[in-house]
Symmetry: C2
């Protein structure tokens, strides 16, 4: 898989049993963590979200020191660490076995390189035709059930399109295939409420926190596609891209705005201080 | 995992790489096939549904002779064979890599024993509080995204309850956690239409076919919970249980009815002839 180092339950190994519930049912959660100069970035939010997602599925949460240690062990100088936690073996069917040993996968990968122009000048995005389904029990959770993302990502292969935006059945924009979405209107920042569908990214949570600490209003809300188009600025976040300005959606174009620039600077500052 | 024999891409091996898309995204499909006296039962419908599910996800369909050969190779005298097909390695993120090699897992397991009383006297079922989400693009597909089933199955641990019934957000009954549902009213058989959610089981398709061939009307329809309760008979199907009469749902009880008995006999006959 191109992983430089992989630990499965703490041991150097890059396979799992074919009976693992992560494979059988997608019964698990994951995070993708950027590493710079050997240091995992925004680890506090990754660990918080991991704990929250485990709670949503009733999975045991690994100790933070254990996870941080394993992440440090596999982390390349610069690159990516992926953490996958599953409910372990599936011998008894769908019913979770109380107290069963979960599976913990921590894998280091080389960096994903993006053209610098994406962060500088912004990116072109498209609206996906796939509509996300609504499942409040799984909303926000970065689970291993990601077929909607796979189908949505398969909708285009035009390399000039950097991301696809996904909506819900009620006519709201929810997220990007691999990112969260923020819109800026009259200096106020909003990001879709993810209580019925969507994935809550660690970067989304950090950006909300940093904006709040800076006194910039940032709220969660239902955001219609028309409101997105009417926004002064739109930007995308995830742990590997930081924040990308949206420069184009169909015929609508945006210059890179001041709030987006400020968010990029906040992320860089926080990464340096973290 | 208790598998007697496992083939991964035709080789004796019981692990997959941690980068497989089946684990990363649940990007694959599966079937669970009953084996009796070394013979896989209802293989024709399993292969048809596998082909149909692969088409829904844009996965290549393995040749029927190859699959049948591998199933025969791992099949225990009496037991279960599970087939999992995934989109292979995930190195490039959500975007499927055109022409990439998929992963084919064929695993034999010992039989799952159920008390004979379940088929004879019927089972008690419950209505799950989890509501299925609606995703027409995945409806019917037995994909590896099964977290809703996991959460629903975790709702009860009363061993006297054999199955949980799941509904959609519109107030219809859709399926059981591990089974399809049929209702009989005035000699007419109906089963939920699975175009917005649910999994189309190979046994469901065979039962519809056998009923049709016997001149018994069997249609797909939206079925409300009140219609389920008002039914003369309710039965559940899957490839391992064949057909179980539903004897109780909450305070509603049913005697085992003639259509259910006839369906059980049809399945047994078809298995013998197959």
């Amino acid at each position: 898989v191109g992983a430089s180092t992989v630990l499965v339950d703490g041991r150097a190994r890059d396979t799992i049993g074919i009976g693992d519930r992560g494979l059988a049912f997608g019964d698990g959660v994951f995070r993708t963590i950027a590493v710079r100069a050997g240091r995992p970035l925004n680890l506090r939010w990754h660990l918080r979200r991991l704990a929250s997602d485990c709670a949503a599925l009733g999975l045991p949460v690994p100790g933070e020191a254990l996870l941080a240690g394993e992440i440090a062990q596999v982390a390349p100088g610069d690159g990516v660490v992926k953490v996958i936690l599953t409910r372990g073996d599936s011998t008894r069917g769908y019913a979770p076995v109380p107290g069963a040993a979960p599976t913990r996968i921590v894998a280091g990968f080389p960096p994903v390189r993006h053209e610098a122009s994406r962060a500088r000048d912004g990116v072109a995005v498209r609206r996906c035709s796939l509509t996300l389904s609504e499942q409040p029990r799984l909303a926000g959770v970065k689970s291993l059930n990601r077929l909607e993302n796979v189908l949505a990502r398969a909708e285009w292969d035009d390399v000039s399109i950097a991301e696809g935006l996904l909506g819900d059945p009620r006519g709201h924009v929810v997220e990007g295939v691999v990112s969260n979405v923020f819109v800026v209107k009259d200096q106020r920042v909003r990001t879709p409420e993810l209580t019925r569908c969507g994935v809550i990214g660690a970067q989304r949570e950090r950006v909300r926190e940093l904006l709040g600490a800076a006194g910039v209003e940032c709220s969660e809300a239902d955001i219609g596609w028309d409101e997105l188009e009417a926004a002064d600025e739109v930007f995308l976040t995830n742990s590997l891209i930081d924040a990308w300005p949206v420069a184009r959606l169909g015929s609508r174009t945006w210059p890179v705005g001041p709030v987006t620039r400020r968010v990029q600077a906040m992320i860089a500052q926080d990464d340096a201080r973290d």
